[in-house]
Every structure is written in structure tokens, then in C-alpha cells.
Amino acid sequence: MYEGVVQDLIDELGRLPGIGPKSAQRIAFHLLAADPADVERLAEVLKVVKAKVRFCERCFNVAEGPECRICADPRRDARLLCVVEEPKDVMAMEKAREFKGRYHVLGGAIDPMEGIGPNDLHVMELLRRLTDENIDEVLIATNPNIRGEATAAYLIRQLRDVGVTVSRLASGLPVGGDLEYADEVTLGRAIEGRKVLQHV
């Protein structure tokens, strides 16, 4: 145990996700040895981020105003809506630079064992958007794991009678990998979702 505020800092850092006691100690001593201006800047950013950042009223992405920059951007295709689990998934999709539509963040995936059901996610808000906005296609981009697939299955059932095209992000082989090292489930999905290049 260290004395006073040093131990307090280690304890606070240790509460962050993925930071164990050793990592917390290392970061604390790095901050103690760092330039005071750098530490001041970090403290200021932490205060500002908590005060300013909230969730977009329309899509539940992180935003600094009532709407996030994607919802507020008139150049985005308003007819195309991508449904993701978390705000960090919006960033992952944006990095691909392929998607030009808008997003809807569910706030997680359905996980009965953790007590998370459809009512704990922003599903009602999604259905309301489909009624209020002029959306032609919903792209479901939940994670390609069991929870994500089950959430997609639930959404597909809910959207059955809404009158929009529903698509699912393709699953398959990672670019840069070798076929012989692919696992059976991924390879099975790649075969299932294969693309026809030429019809006879």
C-alpha cells in the first residue's frame, strides 16, 4: 500500500476496464513522472468529455450536441440505416469508408443470461424511426457471434411487416488470411453467403 493520494490514484485507475493492480500502479507512476502540463491536459479532457458528451437523440451514438455529426450531416443517405450494437461499432464501420447511410445504436445485444432482453435495447426507438423517417433499407450489423446473431434474428422478425428491405452484414473469411486456416463455422457462413459472379 502506498500513502494517501498515490494509493487513491492507483485504486481509481484499477477500476477502469482491463486495468489490473499492476497496470494501475504502472500508469500512476507514469503520471507522477510526466510533465505537469500533460497531466493537466489529461485531467481537463476527462472533465470536458464528461460534461459535454452525451448520446445522440436520434441514433444513440456519442454526440456533443442533441444530434451526432452523422445524423446532422445532410450528405448522408437518409434512406439507408445501419443497426449496430455499440457506438464503437459506428467507428469501425466508418473506417471502412463504404457505408454512406446513417446509424442506429442498440446499446448492446440480447443476452438472457445477463438479464438483457429486447426492452433493454433501443429497439422501440428503431421501429419509431422506421415509421417517422423515409428509410428504404435496414442493414443489420450486429456482431457475428451468438448474441449478435440472435439479436439480428429478433430484429428480422420485428421488421417483417414494416415494409423495408432488411439486409445483414456478410460473414466470411478475413482478407489476408489463408483458406486452410479458416474455422468451420466461418467457412460454412462464407459458403452459405457466397456471391454468384456468372449465371449460365
Binding site: G18, P112, G115, P174, D183, E184
Partner: protein, 245 residues
Amino acid sequence: MATYRDVAIVLRTHKLGETDRIITMLARGRGKVRAVAKGVRRTKSRFGSRLEPGMLVDLQCYEGRSLDTVTQAELIAPYGDFIARDYAAYTASAAMLETADRLAEEGQAVIQQFNLLAGGLAALAGQAHSPGLILDSYLLRAVAIAGWAPSFESCAGCGAPGPHRAFNLASGGAVCSSCRTPGSGAPRPETFTLLSALLTADWPVADASAPEVRREATGLVAAYVQWHLERGVRSLRLVDRSETV
């Protein structure tokens, strides 16, 4: 370091650090196993898809002090992958996996529980019957294997041959008029027939049951299981029966 190999069903997973997961499994020879699977959250992981809830795998691990480490996992049956495509089956499987997690102990062979769970998941994946019926049958048989077998024909109190009209949780099922205590329910006779069919896996009888009978049986099964487990099974509240009952 000691390594071991076993056949296991993945019960649940928890995130660990940046890319790892803690995998809780029901292994046939070792009971409940908790092991770290390294790097499984990366998209290029070869393990990731195999170590998802509901997957049946041939597992190799090395023993650790508190957690083991998965070194190899070969897929035997991707039940979880099929189940996740049907929302009702997914919620039923979650309740089955959570119950198995509650009933299993670390370091104790659980061959009967393992076989029952594997059979239940295979039935869900193969859409053999309604997911709600498969779940209720699994729950009754799992608690029966654990030592709390209910009785739906003869009296659970004195053994008098049935049929009886009353149901009492604490007594363990159907009770005769002499053993009936205040607080006992009086389900339909058809509900007793369905419960008995679910316990003995008499599927033609179970499949032919009416929706209102299934609903009543479901309530009794959930109450019976949670009474014996001494706390609620979280997933049961979220089981989707909208398209099956």
C-alpha cells in the same frame, strides 16, 4: 504443466482484457470448467467461433491455479450457430445453459447432465419440437438427475397411485387429498399428462398438447425448478414463447 482433454459444451462467456474471454463449459468428465481463451475476440481467431455458447467441442486445456487455459478446441457440433438463427430457440437455449451452469459443480463428472444438455441443444438446433416444450422437458429432467425428481402420477407425499388433482412445489409434484397442504395448486388433468410426458420424453403426447395446457405446465415447471435451485433463473423471464404457445 498438466494438460487434459475432454468433450465440453460452452455454457457462457465473459470478456477478459482486450481480446480474451473466460469460457465456462460443462465438460463430460470434469464437470464445470472455467478457462481463458486467448485472442478469441479478434476477427482472425480460429477459436472464436467454436467457443461460443451452445457449441459442442473437443477441448484441450492446461490447468492453472484458478483458471485453466484453452490450447485447442475442435468443433464437434455447432448447435449454438443453428440455434441463434431462431430467436425462440436462442432464448430457450439460454435458460438451459444457465440451469446447467447452476446445477454443475467443478471437478465432478456429470455424464448424465452433459448428455441431457447435448440432447436438448441438438433438439433445439434440429427444430425437432417447439423450443418451449424442449426447454420444459430439459428443466424437469435436469432437476430429476440432480436428485429432485418430481412425481406427476403417484402422490409425491405418500406414494398413493394417481391421478391426483393437486400440485404442491415443496412436496415435489402431484399430491393426494390427504397430503394436500394449503397453497397447493389445482392444475388441469391435461397439464399433469403433459408434465408427465415432458419428464419421460413422450413427445407424441407433448406435441399434441393445447396452448393453454402448455402455458400452465410452463408456469409449474419454472416454479418447480426455481424452488429447488433456491434462486431465480434469470433467462426464464426472457424466454420467447410468442410463436410456439
